[in-house]
Symmetry: C2
Amino acid sequence: MTTSEKAYEVVIDFIKKQISSGTLRLEDRLPPERELAEELGVSRNSVREALRVLDILGVVSSRQGAGNYVSSHFESSLVEMLSLMYLLQNIGYRDLTDFRYGLERQALTHAVGRATETQVREMEENIRAMEAAGEESLKAAYDKNIHYAIAKISGNVLINDTLQALSEVMDRYIVDVRGKILRRPGNQARLQDAHRRMVSAIRDGDLDSGLHALDDHFRCIYESLEE
Amino acid sequence: MTTSEKAYEVVIDFIKKQISSGTLRLEDRLPPERELAEELGVSRNSVREALRVLDILGVVSSRQGAGNYVSSHFESSLVEMLSLMYLLQNIGYRDLTDFRYGLERQALTHAVGRATETQVREMEENIRAMEAAGEESLKAAYDKNIHYAIAKISGNVLINDTLQALSEVMDRYIVDVRGKILRRPGNQARLQDAHRRMVSAIRDGDLDSGLHALDDHFRCIYESLEE
């Protein structure tokens, strides 16, 4: 090993290969640090460093006094990474809308007829709260809740995680886009109607009506982005 | 600081917050390691460790002798993380197909009429190569090229990056799904026809025909996943 960087990378690569090949599986215990260090010809410090990185990536969990295990607590690190990626890349609202539309269309398709009574009630409460709220910033927060609830109900981990990762970006986006939409009279009612119809369609298992409502919702957004 | 783990996490959180708030932007130089250590009350070793992790995550780049910079070389780490996530979480092909479909539908919508002559020629060459190839593994590689070319032509960074991040996962997925599709006679021609029509529609600026071809393509996939 010429530098310590190379040493910890050797360890990471070794563990990743063991996972890819299926030698190491979820919940399996990793070899002891000493053993890894000897086998790979690196210092124990390098092994510890590698394990720390894999922990942050969500691939390894350390259990106090019981060693290191293959884990899959990806969600938070994936969400953080994607969130930083989106923040740093300065994505335009048009691209963000297309991206959202593609994923939310799929989410709605699978959410229809799949929500529990509690989930439906929660969405309906968010709609009522959105309509009753005086402050626009509150309305925007309830608006977001409804969309994220649908993603969750869809049961698609990829769609849900990706939208979760966009959460911080979405906070600003939803406020800005609502602002643009509401400049035109009648759009407030139009947006509320679209949300209501989306949730009713999910409750009633009516896919066609749900997709129509979603299309109306996004037409509202696209129109306001064009102005 | 009670443990070194807490110390490096403090540094990571600090830098992430600076990025989220817009204080640190892409290509900005980070404060010197010594300064960060003093400001946050941690050892320089902890700062170095944190920077190494952020480098692996794709958020920071070290330039020899010139300090550390905010970066966005996410792709490779995202690819690795998503691949491992897929391997460990066993995300079903059904969810992956829904995810792809949502994003590729948007990609095609924006690629229609937008491709340069060179891009169209490249896609057409991939189709010819796919049809001419004897080995199924080669066909699968050309198949993937066509789909990724469309994502690129769409010009949507979010869609393109996300599909790129899924690239390794997609390698196995496309081979497996093609295998399932081709078990049924007539599906080879059906799949080739769908690809041809997608590319022609992009070339001719015919959105309706492009979306029909894409829908046929994905219907092929969904049918074979149900069997």
